[in-house]
Symmetry: C2
């Protein structure tokens, strides 16, 4: 059912937007107080003041809903990218911002909800795309300055992957860990051709 | 309650060992057919032919049980390390073996059970220790041959972290992905001093 969240276009504005906001807010509250696997659509509906039927109709099941909220949360992180004039500075600060964000307990819970909501193998993780687009912008800027840069895949695999891994397995997600990952990725940088 | 699994010494032999084997086997079967969050101790007890009370007494709750089984599964992986005579060969084959292992659906489910069983921040993930010890042995051998080597942390952060991240978020875990991660880590290798 999670395909709802990626295949059905999201309606916007008016009543639909109000329902979405109420439901997202309710999920956010519940995620901060309940284990994801204990959250049910009736619980969300009651807190959001929405008819459970409209949640079932729109999201299909609670996993699809939790996943969509988690992805939405990811997608709105760090809209302002660091721009300190060097790739080393930008990459390090970007990694630290992501660590700060996912280190928050409610964000770790979102990430676990996303993981536990994924029952089928998918080719692309939506929040993965957001991070990839951010990494591509940082790399493009550095490339224009003639700096040595890693690939987008290297940034995703070696900064985002390890940070998210630590978050879902409740390992420490700290700024110093983020800096260590960024420093390792900088070792992979190739001179601009 | 998950602290049971790390703080209480595991009794071995006789009745206790038979209970453990029956319970682990039951969990393994259920994990292959149910979402982890739908597995209950009564379900495990029924399939294992064990009194639910003895499971509650020994493991405390289903999360602690699922986590212990997941850790036990991790801890018995890849006891035979690759030894092809070069660090590049050993690291690449080791990464491929781990990818093969966690790419199996039941193993991904174990990993998700482990993630969802972790409610408190812990300093060390048990399966992390097993992987770290394996990486340390590969690095030590290479160092003795005078090869350039990365650190144990670099191997954990940039091979294990990304592979487990892909597994829990249902992203593809392939041998080619494992080879790519190993190749990136080799770029971090420093000459033997």
């Amino acid at each position: 059912m999670t395909s709802h969240t990626t295949e059905r276009p999201r309606r916007v504005g008016g009543r639909s937007a109000r329902v979405t906001n109420a439901v997202y807010t309710a999920v956010g509250h519940l995620m901060a107080h309940e284990r994801p696997d204990r959250i049910t659509i009736p619980m969300v509906a009651e807190r959001a003041g929405v008819n459970p039927t409209s949640i079932y109709r729109r999201w299909g099941d609670v996993d699809a809903l939790l996943k969509e909220v988690a992805v939405a949360v990811m997608a709105h992180e760090n809209d302002v990218l660091p721009d300190v004039g060097t790739f080393t500075g930008d990459l390090t600060e970007w990694a630290e911002l992501i660590a700060d964000d996912i280190a928050r307990p409610e964000r770790s819970r979102y990430l676990r909800a996303l993981a536990s909501a994924r029952d089928e193998l998918v080719e692309v993780c939506p929040c993965w795309n957001v991070r990839g687009a951010q990494a591509a912008r940082l790399i493009e800027r550095a490339h224009e300055r003639g700096e040595a840069v890693p690939t987008v895949d290297q940034v995703l695999d070696h900064i985002i992957g390890p940070l998210y891994h630590h978050a879902v397995f409740a390992l420490p997600v700290t700024r110093s860990y983020a800096r260590r990952l960024a420093a390792d990725v900088l070792l992979m940088a190739q001179p601009a051709s």
